[in-house]
Symmetry: C3
Subunit: 269 residues, 3 copies
Amino acid sequence: MRDAILNAVSDLRARSPLVHSLTNYVVMEVTANVLLAAGASPLMAHEPEELDDLLAIASALVLNIGTLDKNWIASMEKAGEAANRHGKPVVLDPVGAGASRLRTETSLRLLERVRPKVLRGNASEIMALAPEAAAARGFSKGVDSTNASFEAAPAALFLAKKYGCVVSVSGAEDWITDGRTTLLVKGGTPLMTRVTGMGCSSTALTAACAAVACSPLIAAAAAMAMMAAASNRAAATAGGPGSFLPAFLDALFTLKPAEAAACVHPADE
Amino acid sequence: MRDAILNAVSDLRARSPLVHSLTNYVVMEVTANVLLAAGASPLMAHEPEELDDLLAIASALVLNIGTLDKNWIASMEKAGEAANRHGKPVVLDPVGAGASRLRTETSLRLLERVRPKVLRGNASEIMALAPEAAAARGFSKGVDSTNASFEAAPAALFLAKKYGCVVSVSGAEDWITDGRTTLLVKGGTPLMTRVTGMGCSSTALTAACAAVACSPLIAAAAAMAMMAAASNRAAATAGGPGSFLPAFLDALFTLKPAEAAACVHPADE
Amino acid sequence: MRDAILNAVSDLRARSPLVHSLTNYVVMEVTANVLLAAGASPLMAHEPEELDDLLAIASALVLNIGTLDKNWIASMEKAGEAANRHGKPVVLDPVGAGASRLRTETSLRLLERVRPKVLRGNASEIMALAPEAAAARGFSKGVDSTNASFEAAPAALFLAKKYGCVVSVSGAEDWITDGRTTLLVKGGTPLMTRVTGMGCSSTALTAACAAVACSPLIAAAAAMAMMAAASNRAAATAGGPGSFLPAFLDALFTLKPAEAAACVHPADE
């Protein structure tokens, strides 16, 4: 498994996949910078008329509902269909699922219609999408999670099986499952929760890895591991969230594949 | 009064209010990072269908018209109504009021209909909203103010009384009034005018403080004081606007309440 | 020629032109920060109703199609017309031309209707706009160029003559022509390609220079030279793309006009 992670990180740099994102306004710049620092290329566009052209050349697609509205939801559905038509992997980030009925319903509709390879969210969001499996706790802090990732395990397993996707739950430890095999990613720093877009950037990186990795499970783990390993390095020098972000991007740029692979553990290890 | 400022800054960290912003595209990321560094949580969303759900869980609302259009204006009115319905304080930033008729009229309509607790702008913007009180000078530099904050004092007093709100005028010194009591915030650095979003971030921080402070006047002063105190620290090490921003965020993250309180002065001190 | 570059850079600081941009969401913040660090003032707005008011006070206009949609295209046409009516120079950045039919056609329509003073793009984009002059190579990496700037020379000369504009082709060396005189800008670092918005920021800086320089050719060269000179300085200390950006902004803030002028060379030197 660690060899597969090593290969995913190396191949990301070697092949520089083009990641098309329909994501929220708040994190567009940082997401693009994370992709570029990691060795991928960002592309962002939402006009329905050009989505088929762009998904033909893109390597993967991110759907992130952070600042959704009716027009963007329609564009996301169209982009998802185009990605499927062109055989490009899709990663869904259900930002704020549970905080509004619209977010929960939109996430479920995208899961149903687009069938993403990976669903990546925090514990609160994942639990909100599977009330059958886990009574979702009150959503109290917007896009912040107040639950540990393992608390979402029943919901994650349920969703992985129902939609045939990998579910990647971020938290102090990341909990990643395809419904059969579960991987943990350890590392990172609480400072990540004081910089906007770290979760959304990990979603974009998951899509970049999905374009090159041997499986969606490995892609999801490799992406979270790159985030964790780069954060570990940045936290060693940062004086706060302001200096953390440039240090994090520098670390991502110079990251060795082995640093990432060292953060990934089988759940039963 | 300084005790109230100390409490506001402490309570911001302790209670981590969730600030919902309908703000301009340019400053969304920096605004979110300022809120996070200060100890609050950001939430940004504009789809009318979900605004009531989100204002139910948010602690305060920012309306910032920087990149307004017809759809966003409608969302802002709807968000303002929802905030009022749920008893959450609203802060309005009339970005560029005076630069176009649309901006001036939209700001006045939001003041009239939403009745924000705090109106926060630069001197040119505040003067443009009260031509009865101050012949507004020509708006020559977009969203930059060419007037000192005290020049807007007559307009600020007029607006505070007319709309029953606090008016917070930013400048080299910030001039903050509820129509009876006036506070000054001293500190900060000209470098702040060479980084985009410092004014908009102070608006968001004002909303965060309004969720926890004993009064809108104290909230407005506490927010400007946090900006000033963190800027003072960052200016001591910054080599220009590029290194200023990370240093500012680090300073905000580690700011002591007393550093902020030391920047606030009664107008007649 | 170098005197003209020196004057453009000095005048930019002295006159602080107000640059109105209709640009893409991804780069709005970094573009504003680049303009501010260089000494100009940013303004971003897209609501058709206020464009005439704003172009009356702006000094120059940027049209950047990076995240175009039907509404924004209409706003761009309206803004271009307003800029022409008020005699303000327009700079067009055809982001991703060639990647979708919509981008290519929108760029050509804006060239035809708005008649920008400067067209600034990378080699792939410029070649995609003049298939008559250069069989455009496959567009494989979204908004990244895979061609050296000089490869776009035939297309650039063709477009410069056809539309009576300056064409500024960015690359490891920048290749800038008005159809008669060609200037090269040498300098910069590959790290610029690992930070989002460097190309878009050079477009905004071109507009700022166009408001003060003696000709569009000098404006285009001065802007690219400021980017190159500031990048040279930042690259000397940066540990990666994360630390590059703050260092770049600091360098731009303290840049001496002679540092920029030293990067500009006649094509036949």
